[in-house]
Symmetry: C2
Subunit: 555 residues, 2 copies
């Protein structure tokens, strides 16, 4: 049996009421309780969940509706009503004690904080369009947490935003992080060089989580909502977000996470990614990428791989940025390990579009456009001499010989430790590198990048060898792959982004938020020292559209 009652003219946000109904349902003899505002959408829910009661006919969107299922509803009604009153009183109390200003219109909010530049909206989807458009008209960016916004409204909002160089994140956008400010469902992240664009809330959160686990951080994470890459919406916000991160100097690498875009949108997004002038890691969920990399775009297959690639590329960018400009310089790789030389040559050829030689005469693994990678373990260098891993003078001689003929600009070397190897390969190489730097009369070049193969337990001790190299001014990276990523980034002319960072203002200004809807979001921003005004939104004119139209005419 069902019992129902209404509490007129007392708008509450849905989540608060849902949590209240969860508590009420714990009352004795109560089978089910449902507490919702009397919006048309919610009335449908009452019907669909078999909790409909005729009294609801009289309910408007500003009325709290309570329906109880119980064997003796009459007996417990009073008890439930009392509990409800207590819960609502609690909410009101919380509101009064809120440390952020609470207002009842957007203009009030802007009077309190004229710098407000983002509206975070979490009111019921059927109403979200109105405050969103208001905010855009005030030149505020918008994040729409609300779901069930009609797609036509989404297109209208995003086209209007586009015309104003603003971005609409969402609707149904669960997660964004702007300069450390958590918008809706977001993790507290260390700041770093990785920017994220995502049409998937938990996708963004998991990539963030894995980046933090790897000890790195993010600049911003921009949510799009699940429909932005549909044919109807056409990826308007995706393009805006990519342009923003391309224009954001702190962002070294961009991660893009979404379901595969609609046919008509995919091409546009792919082309845009190639013009961003930064490495992009693209994860199209549920698809197997044909290739792993094309130009500056790297394709991941899983969330953890996307995060790992981003970290790897961000590290390479960071190392490269700290080095002098070397655009157009030539790479010389002198390797004592044959397989390391082969891997270095293969990856260099892939990243720089070089031709691999069919034969490796004299250990030359790569020799194209002035870039050379040589395997010094080749017979021609070891005939009558010990292997260069045993006798580092082999490499030193070759290096100084080449340096006598042409300037060495970017030098790549391996340092292989372990039994059998020389007792101090780093030290031996450091001497030759010093000599090389002298001969190149103190110019900051040649840049030298080394990767060490070996463990802390090795007789030469990995960390000690790394220190010796660094002391000599050698840049030491984690492995051969990382060395090539850095070198390739150095020699390529830094492509300027041709992306249009129209909505960049969101990242350039300090964030000031007007929170419209769930109060918890305002509290979270407050906790992160982000200026925030709470706009206690309620449907105008009981949500009566005719009355609303009349009213707007009279304005």
């Amino acid at each position: 049996m069902f019992y129902a009652f209404l509490k007129k003219g007392c708008f509450q946000d849905s989540v608060s009421l849902m949590l209240i109904s969860r508590d009420l349902s714990k009352a004795d003899d109560v089978k089910r309780v449902s507490v919702m505002m009397g919006t048309p959408a919610n009335k449908d829910v009452f019907r669909e969940t078999g909790m409909w009661h005729e009294l609801l006919e009289q309910a408007g969107p500003n009325d709290v509706c309570v329906v109880i299922e119980s064997d003796q509803p009459q007996e417990i009604a009073a008890q439930v009503e009392e509990r409800l009153e207590q819960a609502l009183a609690q909410l009101a109390k919380g509101r009064r004690s809120a440390s952020y200003p609470v207002v009842h219109s957007l203009s009030q909010a802007l009077r309190i904080d004229p710098e407000s530049n983002l509206a975070l909206i979490s009111v019921a989807g059927s109403y979200a369009h109105e405050p969103a458009m208001q905010a855009l008209e005030k030149n505020m960016h918008v994040m729409l947490f609300s779901d069930n916004v009609p797609i036509a409204k989404e297109v209208e909002l995003k086209r209007f935003a586009q015309s104003r160089n603003l971005i609409v994140m969402g609707p149904d956008c669960g997660t964004s992080v702007i300069a450390g400010a958590p918008l809706a469902f977001a993790n507290r992240m260390p700041s770093g060089g990785i920017g994220i664009v995502g049409a998937s809330g938990t996708g963004i959160q998991e990539v963030c989580s894995q980046i933090a686990l790897a000890g790195r951080g993010i600049t911003h994470a921009i949510g799009l909502g699940g429909r932005d890459l549909s044919a109807e919406v056409g990826g308007i916000s995706a393009q805006a977000a990519l342009g923003m991160l391309a224009g954001d100097e702190a962002t070294r690498v961009i991660v893009f996470v979404s379901k595969p875009p609609a046919e008509s949108v995919a091409k546009r997004i792919a082309e845009l990614m190639e013009t961003l002038g930064k490495p992009v890691v693209a994860l199209f969920l549920g698809t197997k990428p044909q290739s792993r990399q094309q130009g500056n775009v790297w394709f991941a297959e899983s969330l953890d791989e996307a995060a790992r690639l981003a970290v790897e590329l961000d590290d390479a960018e960071a190392v490269a940025e700290a080095l002098p400009d070397a655009a157009g310089c030539r790479i010389l790789g002198l390797y004592t390990g044959g397989t390391l030389a082969a891997e270095a040559a293969g990856l260099s050829a892939q990243l720089l579009g070089l031709k691999m030689p069919a034969h490796h005469d004299k250990g030359v693994m790569l020799d194209d456009q002035g870039h050379q990678i040589i395997d010094l373990g080749d017979d021609v260098y070891t005939r009558g001499r010990p292997h260069p891993m045993i006798d580092p003078s082999v490499r030193n001689d070759v290096l100084l010989d080449i340096a006598g003929k042409r300037p060495v600009e970017i030098l790549l070397v391996d340092v292989v430790l372990g039994y059998g190897s020389h007792r101090d390969p780093a030290g031996a190489f450091a001497v030759a590198y010093e000599a090389l730097k002298q001969s190149s009369n103190g110019a900051c070049r040649p840049i030298c990048i080394a990767a060490v193969t070996g463990t802390e337990e090795d007789v030469q001790v990995r960390s000690a060898q790394i220190e010796k190299l660094q002391t000599a001014g050698v840049v030491v990276v984690r492995n051969t792959r990382q060395a090539i990523l850095v070198a390739a980034r150095l020699v390529r002319p830094r492509r300027q982004s041709s992306a249009n960072g129209a909505a960049l203002s969101l990242l350039k200004q300090k964030l000031h938020v007007v929170n419209i809807g769930l109060r918890e979001f305002a509290q979270n921003l407050q906790d992160c020292q982000v200026p925030c005004v709470q706009y206690e939104w309620a449907p105008v004119c009981q949500g009566n559209d005719r009355l609303k139209k009349l009213l707007s005419r009279m304005k």
Copy 2:
């Protein structure tokens, strides 16, 4: 001008002499010095390097040959000779003070250490076949560091070894590690669950290095030499090595590193890998694998990826091994994050060969062969209720509801932290999991595997949430992918290896080495407390083959 002299009947290993000639060349007025044994191969080197001197005609393989290039060779000859004597005296001294026994025949070595089970051979390639065959005849495994061994000899040795259930590593095998014992060029590695087979010395060393960097370790690393996978040799040692690691209980995951095998060999190796009953990471250097995974074989594209995959799979195996047997059990994934659910479903389908549904009614992302993965963020669960990330009771209710209908065997969950999420999702789930375990009357099942999305800075604190889960008996892994790797490994019937670990004796017995050639290798083994006898090998009968044959007949 050239000056030469010989030192008769005084065999020295090549590396020692190379290092000596490097020192001698530092003498005043010396342009070049070359010091080598008078073997036919070395005489060629003298000619090719333009250091030939007629006196060398009289030199035999047991004679040290010295050729000096200088403007006044006569004047400095004495000085050079004196330096040579000093260097040779040094070597002899080192030998006498060696802590390992030194003998002059294999039978002497076996008399001193009858348990000797491996011969490490680094004499000149043209002579290596003889001591190698001797060792095999004594039922010893062989590692041939020597290069320039004729391929016909390699085939002969490996076929013979095969007939005796022995393995020949090499020739030209730079690196092996057997139970921590470094053979030739090897790194000191932490012990762990990863076994390596490699036709590339530095390839093995770099994979080892990256595994150690990741904080993991190896069981054994078995080198093959560069030609084992050629059509002529047919991968005899590769098959032996894979069989050995398949039969080695401590080896949970196998990494295989080599250039692509010859056409005729590739198929055999691929088929063998599929029968090993363990995860195999295959890296065929310089090739782009068509797929990333087929059955138990995972294909890597670079050395660091091979190491990373191995670590990931080893971790999953280790977690699974520590859990009760669950072969044939069903997976139930209850996810609050939509993208996490999708990723879990996709990877499960891939690994277990399940069908993905075209539509996701009621958030069912996967439902095949009894395995189910559900996205609890689907509207059907959130209508009139908060999102399960806000209100964990959503998942708890679904879980207990399902548990009421059928046994829950392997349960997968996500725990998403951050702003917006519940303040204690782990604690809330732990309660439901406890209830579930009670209802399944104390059977060790249901096994629960969780991955946490969130950071240490989140209000819920990642580490604290993980601890709560672990306290409740939940297995917590690094990410969704890892959870699926563990679950898939659990439900699959543990396939027994059908590989033939014929040469397994090398891994089962304690290693006792007879080192034939470079003394440094003996010293390294000594340093690692590996019993080792040094066999001071020298060419029989001055390397005169006719005389040698006569002699062998007379024996």
